[in-house]
């Protein structure tokens, strides 16, 4: 036991010495070179919790590309990310929506670049014993979530699910307690798809019918659905899969019922033409294979940076997220960017500068 400890200690010292040598070598070779050279320094970021698992995985893998660079991504929510970026406490922020007009003043006229990095479906998950496949239209989803459809055997649900035996039990809603980008994009979907039916607006917090059960985080909502027979809720794909929930196929803009999956989410984003600043909404995509409740998240950075080193580190890390990092997404339950948007985002990397 003791010998083992001593061995570990020696190994630790050896490793530290090697690391220091490597650092010394690399810092002397950094000067001048752009790509391929080793960078030293720290990038701090906060924001979107939707991005958090992806960022954590990417930070881990990025160590093998730039061993002397440290990236910290604290979650906290998109709103926190944006206000941290505005306050200058982070070098980049993760956000599930573009900067809302109420916040533009905080950025004091400085240009913020949007890099889309991640796409993901939001499932409509339910807990009905014996019902393994369910089809829902945006109208039905809207009426369920604003409390106008109250029972599972409502004619509106029955008519689109012939052959499925639906019980005559009340529907209980599972929603988010904390404000979140998932809620914002789920309500944006309903607002875009069925504006005449959906009355509760679009925001990261919605005034749900008071009977709704609220959980913290996607995991919290998934837990409510899992433990409450007759419940339905919106949960992001990764958490729904992790909790083993059953989810509905949702009718898209072209009229097809599509199940949530990384493929159908990528298809949704591919059917959207982003604006010149690369902002877009992947919900209610016109593509025939698209899953209609698909959302996206961006990395936000200031175009003008104060130092060359920070510029290079940002280009290296965001370049990694858009390049090799995209391969990490599907195993985590997210979807890759369609290549058209990925290319446009990569092309924008050069805009970051002094």
């Amino acid at each position: 036991m003791d010998r083992l400890h001593r061995k570990r200690f020696t190994a630790g010292i050896a490793l530290a010495v090697i690391a220091m040598l490597a650092a010394a070598c690399s810092s002397s070779s950094t000067t001048g070179g752009s790509s391929g050279s080793s960078l030293t320094g720290t990038l701090n970021a906060s924001g979107s919790s939707f991005q958090l698992p992806f960022q954590q995985a990417a930070i881990q893998q990025f160590k093998s590309v730039q061993p002397n660079m440290t990236v910290n991504y604290g979650g906290g929510g998109s709103g926190k990310g944006r206000s941290d970026l505005a306050a200058g406490v982070v070098q980049f922020a993760g956000s599930d929506s573009p900067i809302p007009s109420a916040e533009t003043a905080n950025f004091k006229g400085k240009t913020v670049l949007y890099f889309p990095v991640i796409i993901g479906p939001i499932t409509v998950s339910y807990n009905l014993s014996g019902v393994t496949s369910l089809k829902l239209t945006p109208t039905v989803i809207a009426e369920i979530f604003q409390g106008t459809i109250k029972k599972w055997d409502d004619p509106a649900i029955k008519s689109i699910n012939p052959g499925v035996s639906l019980p005559s039990t009340p529907i209980s809603l599972a929603v988010r307690a904390d404000s979140s980008g998932t809620t914002a994009n789920f309500s944006l979907f309903l607002m875009t798809a069925v504006p005449s039916v959906w009355k509760l607006g679009s925001s990261s917090t919605i005034s749900w019918p008071s009977s709704a059960h609220a959980g913290n985080g996607n995991g919290g909502v998934a837990q409510i659905i899992k433990s409450t027979p007759g419940s339905i809720g919106y949960v992001d794909f990764a958490d729904a899969k992790a909790a083993g929930l059953t989810y509905a196929s949702v009718q898209n803009k072209s009229g097809n019922y599509i199940a949530p999956s990384p493929t159908s989410a990528s298809a949704a984003a591919a059917g959207i033409t982003p604006a010149s600043d690369l902002t877009f909404h992947a919900v209610w995509s016109p593509a025939p294979e698209a899953y209609p409740i698909t959302y996206q998240s961006w990395v936000l950075v200031y175009q003008k940076q104060s130092s060359t080193n920070t510029t290079k580190m940002l280009q290296a890390y965001i370049g990694y997220l858009l390049g090799p990092g995209q391969q990490l997404l599907e195993p985590l339950g997210y979807a890759k960017l369609p290549s058209s948007i990925d290319q446009q985002a990569k092309a924008q990397l050069d805009k970051i500068g002094m």
């Binding site: 709103g79 904390d178 917090t205 919605i206 005034s207 008071s210 609220a214």
Partner: protein
């Protein structure tokens, strides 16, 4: 003595005791300044918190005006009325106090009047252990274990009282494991240690002569507590209860997890609700503009309410302590 004199030189008096007493004021003054600085630091931090939060909340107060007390909080429609949260804070605080106080005072009486000292010690330790459970643990236990368990009890009470006037409004459906009542119970657990220990201290100050006098007059133990202990410690226990209330109202993360997060004003105690600290914790991350300012404003209101409650509580405790000294 002579050594001291030689070292001190001719200007210093020969008596070492006097020399010491003359040297002391310098150290004393230094300590006084240090202590004063520490005290002022606390005050300065409080003032800074109050000013910076009020400043950030100003946008909400100026945009909404009197509507800060409106009954609708709906960020999707830009409505930011605080009434549901004030209501929820009052309700959950009241439930917590109603449940915690009899138990706490009971434990305090047990410790001071019933069991001998060597048995009281372990009970005190156990009660104090409740206070070291982190609030997030209370919250998680509440939502994962206690809530799902008590949900069935709520449901059976709810169906039992259906149609009965008043009771139906309080305990009838809708019922949910995460509700005003669950939150109140969890908060009651959390404030029991502080109310117990403060009550115990107050009750322990009852002069032995009063108690023995009561016994001498032929009083039973209950009569002695009613006649000698209670009049003496009434004020102090009231203060302890108010301090407990202040803690219950400010408790954040446990409340955020178990209260159900629905900004509704309803008489149904088993229905999901919301209170001030919980909404701040849940919504701050994504909020911006008036919304963010409103959440900070709720913090300012809560700050003011708890300060007022604490001042009243301290006043009551001090007054009763003075009266006891006078007696």
């Amino acid at each position: 003595m002579s050594v001291a004199t030689r070292r001190a030189g001719p200007a210093i008096p020969a008596d070492p005791a006097r020399a010491l007493s003359e040297r002391r004021p310098l150290g004393d003054r230094g300590f006084q300044i240090l202590a004063l600085a520490c005290g002022l630091l606390v005050l300065a931090i409080l003032v800074l918190i109050a000013t910076s939060t009020s400043q950030q909340a100003a946008l909400w107060f100026s945009t909404e005006g009197i509507k800060v007390f409106a009954k609708t909080w709906n960020p999707a429609a830009n409505q930011f009325g605080a009434l549901p949260f004030i209501y929820g804070t009052a309700i959950t605080g009241a439930i917590a106090v109603i449940m915690a106080v009899p138990v706490s005072v009971g434990i305090a009486l047990l410790l001071t009047q019933v069991v001998p000292y060597r048995w009281a010690r372990p009970i005190v330790y156990v009660v104090d252990l409740l206070a070291v459970v982190p609030s997030v643990v209370w919250g998680l236990w509440g939502i994962l274990v206690f809530g799902p368990w008590i949900q069935h009890i709520y449901a059976s009470i709810g169906s039992a009282v259906q149609g009965v006037p008043v009771l139906d409004d309080l305990f009838g459906p809708p019922t949910s494991g995460a509700s005003f009542f669950t939150c109140g119970i969890i908060l009651a657990f959390m404030i029991t240690p502080i109310v117990t220990s403060l009550s115990r201290e107050v009750i322990a100050t009852v002069p032995a002569i009063d108690r023995e006098g009561a016994y001498a007059l032929g009083a039973t133990r209950l009569e002695m507590i009613r006649g000698a202990v209670w009049p003496h410690s009434k004020g102090g226990v009231t203060g302890a209860v108010l301090l407990g209330l202040g803690r219950a109202m400010g408790e954040t993360i446990a409340a955020a997890l178990v209260i159900g997060s629905s900004p509704t004003i309803t008489s149904h105690l088993f229905a999901p609700g919301y209170n001030m600290p919980a909404v701040i914790a849940n919504q701050f991350g994504e909020a911006s503009g008036v919304w963010r300012s409103g959440l900070i404003g709720l913090g300012v209101m809560l700050f003011a309410i708890t300060i007022i409650i604490n001042i009243i509580a301290r006043g009551i405790v001090d007054r009763s302590a003075r009266r006891q000294r006078g007696a």
